[in-house]
């Protein structure tokens, strides 16, 4: 293969860009925006190039994940933690989504707060690098490093930019996430010590799982109820469930989404929200095949609860950002449901849906941001008849709305259909309830769209003007992708399905004990 | 012998309590004199005559005299002056009696049998941890001062030297904290 460390570049390039930004004087806003866009574009090009050159590799005994473009270097040799990166069909799409959404965010970044533009752009680029690292890492310690390190730029972005109550909302998110991550840290440590491999490398941990009778002593917890693997899985699962979020852990989400500006939400809702789902597939399915089978009903039920709960909450809200936040929660439920069906259909649907949802939610939050900036309100009841004032936005919004409720011909339909197929394979009652969620989705999305666009104008919407060309150019690619992936979903499916079937096979059959020595 | 040691220890403890509990500073200081003297007596009873002498001269003597001087300097009020009543006389008589007893026994040689207080058991062979290297007879034969000096300048030379640095630090601190500010510096 070629010698260029492309994966490292995807991590280092944005962070280097952030450092470069510090050299630009803060008042040269157009230079700052230019540099940011250039770096984001470069990373997007790399991600795209790698994705479409991703070789179809069969899993082998020593490489159960069939990672491509691997890079491996010693990091802390004494504890066999290595700098190990790799790309597969799952992470490939998410990396592409990551870089794409950050490019969109870089293009859409608001000029209004010129004084702090440099800090915002720099933090954004650092976040992009950290998220890319999380997606590419194939070593548990390295993964954890990026997983928690990503919170640093996110903390400063979320707490520094947005609505008046952002500080509290951010702190809630951070403390929630940290608590979950730290549990995962202990789980990682236990895996490390219990596994015969004594390595943090994901693949060698998959090959050398901890013995079933391994000991774990936590006074006060009756370990005999669950196997130690189950407890460790719960440690991982809580971290991922908080980040996803699954329903009992979702309380940080609505307020944070409401307080954050649209640009932040493009990548925060678009890609950070997918990290939990990614973690479940990448680590939950591969490291804990037996535990995930034990718990799949629980998590599938939680996912369906999330779908319905999010949908009902979206229906009852009047704040447009809050509606979108709950809609997002509901859609994330679909992704989670797809994962816990543990079927190829479900998981490939989940992967596709992660990409789709990232595109759609980014477009929706951008639109909500544009509307809010023009009308000065987010209250649905104060707005109506925008189609007369904003015909261009009306069209773009219509497409995004239809995609969001899973209309055939938009990208979302493909993903949701696959997830539903998987759900039916798991058990029809779950699928039926989840279908109920899509019905409510039609209801609240159309309510949102009609409420905003139709009917006579109201005072707040009297004097608004349509989106500018630059804003339209940010939205247009997203909307084009929605339609393109809707009518021609093959490229996504071609890469997602083999990856999905591979993860399913890892999850369904506990790996046989290693026949070769370690 | 063990009983005598026990009484002296008790006296040391009681007078130490007296240092903390008495309301007048001079009483505290005098109680401290008794405590330090009793510690000295314990040294004597344990066959450490050199340490006994050092303890008496330095602590009960020099240090305490300074203490009492300073207290007298700072606190010349009449009510702080000790008033002797019958209790004090009993105390003084007890201390004096014990001291005489100690000197008499010390003159006649001090030996312990294996039973009794734990403090007297040091050197007992049956003690599982013990690999004691200074049996009293051998120390007496070699000479108390010589043994201490030999130890101090061989095995414990490093702590001994560190102590000198410690004194220097203390001296600097005392000078710094009490020094008056020069005008202009």
């Amino acid at each position: 293969m070629n010698r260029v460390p492309w994966l490292t570049l995807m991590i280092v390039l944005p962070i280097g860009g952030a450092m470069l930004l510090q050299l630009v004087p803060a008042r040269m806003t157009s230079v700052i925006r230019g540099v940011t866009v250039v770096f984001a574009t470069a990373v997007t090009c790399i991600a795209g190039g790698l994705l479409f050159n991703l070789p179809h590799m069969a899993a082998s005994g020593t490489q159960p994940l069939s990672l491509a473009f691997q890079e491996q270097r010693d990091w802390i040799p004494a504890i066999s933690a290595s700098y190990h990166l790799g790309l597969d069909g799952l992470s490939g799409w998410l990396v592409m989504l990551n870089s794409g959404l950050f490019l969109v965010a870089a293009l859409a970044v608001s000029r209004s707060d010129a004084e702090r533009l440099r800090r915002y752009c720099a933090l954004m680029l650092v976040s992009e690098g950290a998220i890319a690292g999380t997606l590419l890492a194939a070593d548990l310690l390295l993964f954890y490093l990026f997983w928690e390190g990503m919170l640093i730029p996110l903390y400063f972005i979320l707490s520094g930019f947005g609505g008046p109550r952002r500080g509290q909302a951010t702190l809630k998110f951070i403390v929630y996430t940290i608590a979950g991550s730290l549990l995962m840290l202990v789980a990682i440590l236990w895996l490390y010590f219990a596994s015969g491999a004594h390595s943090f490398d994901l693949e060698s941990l998959i090959i050398n799982p901890p013995p079933a009778q391994s000991v774990m002593v936590i006074p006060g917890i009756n370990v005999s109820t669950f196997t130690p693997q189950d407890l460790v899985f719960i440690g991982f699962a809580i971290a991922f469930a908080i980040k996803l979020p699954l329903v009992p852990f979702h309380t940080w989400l609505p307020e944070l989404y409401v307080q954050s500006p649209a640009t932040t939400l493009v990548f925060f809702a678009g890609i950070v929200g997918k990290m939990g789902a990614y973690g479940f597939i990448r680590y939950g399915l591969t490291l804990f095949p037996s535990s995930i089978n034990t718990f799949k009903w629980l998590f599938a039920a939680l996912a369906v609860t999330g779908i319905i709960y999010g949908a009902l909450m979206a229906l009852s809200e009047r704040d447009i950002k809050r509606i979108l936040a709950y809609a997002s929660l509901s859609h994330l439920g679909f992704i989670a449901l797809g994962i816990f069906t543990l079927t190829t259909n479900g998981i490939s649907g989940a992967i596709i849906q992660m990409v789709n949802h990232g595109i759609i939610i980014a477009a929706l939050f951008l639109i909500a941001g544009y509307i809010e900036r023009r009308t000065g309100t987010r209250d649905l009841s104060e707005m109506a008849g925008l189609e007369k004032r904003m015909p261009w936005l009306y069209v773009l919004f219509l497409v995004a709305t239809l995609a969001s409720l899973g209309m055939p011909g938009t990208n979302s339909f493909v993903g949701e259909f696959a997830v539903m197929l998987g759900a039916f394979q798991l058990g029809w009652p779950l699928a039926v309830v989840a279908l109920g969620g899509t019905v409510i989705a039609c209801w609240y999305m159309l309510r949102l769209h009609q409420g905003l666009m139709h009917d006579p104008l109201k005072p707040a919407t009297e004097h608004v003007h349509d989106i500018r060309l630059s804003e339209g150019l940010v939205l247009a690619p997203l909307v084009a992708l929605i339609i393109l992936l809707g009518v021609f979903p093959k490229p996504v499916g071609d890469i997602a399905s083999p990856a999905a079937s591979q993860y399913v096979s890892l999850a369904s059959q506990p790996v046989a004990p290693p026949s070769f020595g370690t | 012998m063990t009983l005598l040691l026990g009484i002296v220890m008790l006296l040391a403890a009681i007078s130490a309590l007296g240092v903390v509990l008495s309301r007048q500073t001079l009483y505290s200081a005098l109680s401290l004199v008794v405590t330090l003297s009793m510690v000295a007596v314990i040294f004597l009873l344990l066959n450490a005559q050199f340490l006994f002498a050092v303890q008496i001269i330095i602590y009960a003597g020099a240090v305490m005299v300074l203490f009492v001087f300073i207290i007298a300097l700072l606190n010349p009020e009449a009510e702080d002056r000790p008033a002797f009543d019958w209790r004090s006389w009993i105390g003084i008589a007890a201390v004096a009696g014990i001291t005489i007893l100690v000197f008499v026994t010390a003159r006649n040689g001090i030996t312990y049998n294996d039973g009794g207080l734990r403090g007297a058991q040091i050197g007992r062979v049956s003690d599982p941890y013990h690999t004691f290297s200074f049996p009293p007879d051998a120390v007496n034969a070699a000479g108390n001062v010589q043994t201490v000096a030999g130890q101090l300048f061989t095995t414990f030379i490093l702590p001994f030297e560190i102590t000198s640095l410690l004194l220097l630090v203390a001296a600097i601190g005392a000078v710094y904290l009490t020094r008056r500010e020069h005008s202009g510096s």
Partner: protein
């Protein structure tokens, strides 16, 4: 008067090699005395003293690095009184580095506070010497003298601002409670000596190893020694002096003592407990674990409600001590062949803590106003707008204290928790994690404040200018925090080598 018979112990003079192996300590000790004399020469050009102090510390650092390579598997000096091993050299390096950073930030601060006297530098070196002695101590005597050496210097240093009541109060409080702690320590040492008949750690270890039963007197001695150390490391419930003394003392002194005292105290705790009292592990494990948990809980909860950075850092340092103590509570247990042990974790944590905590306090020191410390939370608001680099450095230190990757603080926690999991003490690790999750609140709160807009844009801001020396110190601390968080292997391998060569070696039966 003549000795009739030969002295009990044949008079052996210590070899010259012993003196040579003591080179790092000798250099610093010489520097201490030389600085006192230099003070007479330099007149009002006191910054020369700082230069000289840094030269001595750097020379000591060089000697320690030389000692690291020279000591091999380690041996004792002066009849088993002192250790010449990689462990003490590792600690020496951390101590000397920290002291040098403190000296760097001191002159400017002392000038602003109007307490720039020559004794300061001498006393810092004296305290450093005491800590180095503590790090290498192999005898109860040297341990006691080392503790007294560092304490005496720190008593004076915390009262260094003679006209300020709060500083005097801090000094007095520290002195009284420190004297109390010394009493406990001596009592414990006396009991241990009485039971084993030895003051040298190696012989104590051997004597303890030869028996299986533990005498109550011996255990009482062990506990009392731990109490004495716990005072110095400010562990709960012996922490009450910490916030007041940290706040009252001049900030540069607080910087110094919050870091170096803990490093030295934990060095001696590891040597005495993990390695000397190893055969009594089952007896002291519970006590140490409970103290660790108590420190984590009390430190973190109390830090939540603080409104001054110095006090917050004081309480957080109590919690940090709790995390480190987890590494001690693990002892030498290891269920697997993994190389992560409690001692390695403690050493890594100490290095990480030193570089981070020095940085955090250095920011407060550097920003100090004329005559007073500006360490209230409100005083920090908007720092990022006036002093972007100082604020960024402070943010980095706070993140490292909170244990965020990729800073060195994360790996400190990581290795300590890993050691706990490795020893099947997962519950301890979980307590540590609960504490870390709480700590995120107050660290990030301060970090956020610095990045908020100042209340009044036009307001005159009181923060001092950053001097070149102060900037260098900050840069060094920040670089250490970040670089060692990425190139983890450098420090980790060092900690491991130090752990492997520590004296006294573990008794073979465990």
């Amino acid at each position: 008067m003549l000795a009739q018979s030969a002295p009990l112990v044949p008079l052996v003079t210590p070899s010259a090699n012993d003196l040579l192996d003591l080179l790092p300590e000798l250099i610093v000790g010489f520097g201490f005395i030389a600085l006192m004399l230099l003070d007479l020469v330099v007149g009002r050009q006191r910054w020369w003293l700082a230069v000289a102090a840094i030269v001595f510390l750097a020379a000591g650092f060089g000697a320690s690095v030389w000692g690291w390579f020279d000591s091999g598997n380690g041996h004792t000096l002066y009849f088993g009184s002192f250790a010449y091993d990689k462990f003490s050299m590792f600690i020496n390096c951390v101590l000397l580095f920290s002291s040098a950073l403190v000296i760097l930030i001191s002159p400017h601060y002392l000038n602003r506070r109007g307490i720039h006297h020559g004794e300061y530098y001498a006393l810092i070196l004296a305290a450093t010497l005491g800590m180095m002695l503590l790090a290498g101590a192999m005898s109860l005597m040297v341990i006691f003298l080392g503790i007294e050496g560092l304490s005496l210097s720190l008593y004076i240093l915390s009262g260094f601002s003679r006209t300020e009541e709060r500083s005097q109060e801090a000094a007095l409080k520290y002195l009284l409670l420190g004297g109390f702690a010394s009493g406990f320590l001596l009592y414990g040492m006396a009991l241990v000596y009485g039971e084993t008949g030895h003051t040298q750690l190696q012989q104590i270890g051997a004597a303890l190893h030869s028996t299986t039963q533990a005498d109550p007197m011996l255990l009482a001695g062990v506990v009392l020694i731990f109490v004495g150390f716990a005072f110095k490391a400010s562990l709960v419930p012996f922490h009450t002096w910490t916030p007041d003394v940290y706040q009252g003392a001049p900030t540069s002194v607080t910087t110094f003592m919050s870091v170096t005292t803990k490093v030295a105290a934990f060095a001696v705790i590891v040597r005495v407990f993990t390695y000397t009292f190893v055969s009594l592990y089952s007896h002291w494990e519970v006590i140490v674990a409970v103290v660790a948990i108590a420190s984590i809980v009390v430190g973190n909860v109390a830090a939540l409600t603080q409104t001054h950075v110095k006090r917050m850092l004081a309480y957080s340092s109590i919690a940090q001590a709790g995390y480190i103590l987890i590494g001690v509570a693990v002892g030498t247990l290891s269920n697997t062949s993994s190389s992560i042990t409690g001692t390695t974790g403690v050493l890594y944590y100490l290095a990480a803590y030193a570089v981070t905590q020095i940085g955090a306090f250095a920011v407060i020191t550097i920003m100090a106003g004329r005559g007073e410390d500006l360490d209230s939370y409100d005083g920090l608001r908007g720092l990022a707008y006036r002093r972007p680099f100082v604020a960024a450095a402070m943010g980095l230190f706070l993140l490292s204290l909170g244990g965020f990757p990729p800073t060195v603080g994360f790996f400190g926690k990581f290795f300590v928790f890993a050691a706990a999991v490795n020893a099947n003490l997962t519950l301890l690790a979980l307590w540590g994690i609960a504490g870390s999750a709480i700590s995120v609140f107050y660290y990030l709160r301060v970090a956020l404040l610095m990045y908020q807009r100042p209340k009044d844009e036009q307001q005159e801001y009181p923060w001092s200018r950053t001097t070149i020396a102060g900037g260098t110190a900050l840069l060094a601390a920040a670089a250490g925090t970040l670089v060692f968080g990425i190139l983890v292997a450098v420090v980790f391998n060092g900690a491991q080598a130090a752990q492997n060569a520590i004296l006294p070696a573990i008794a073979s039966t465990r």
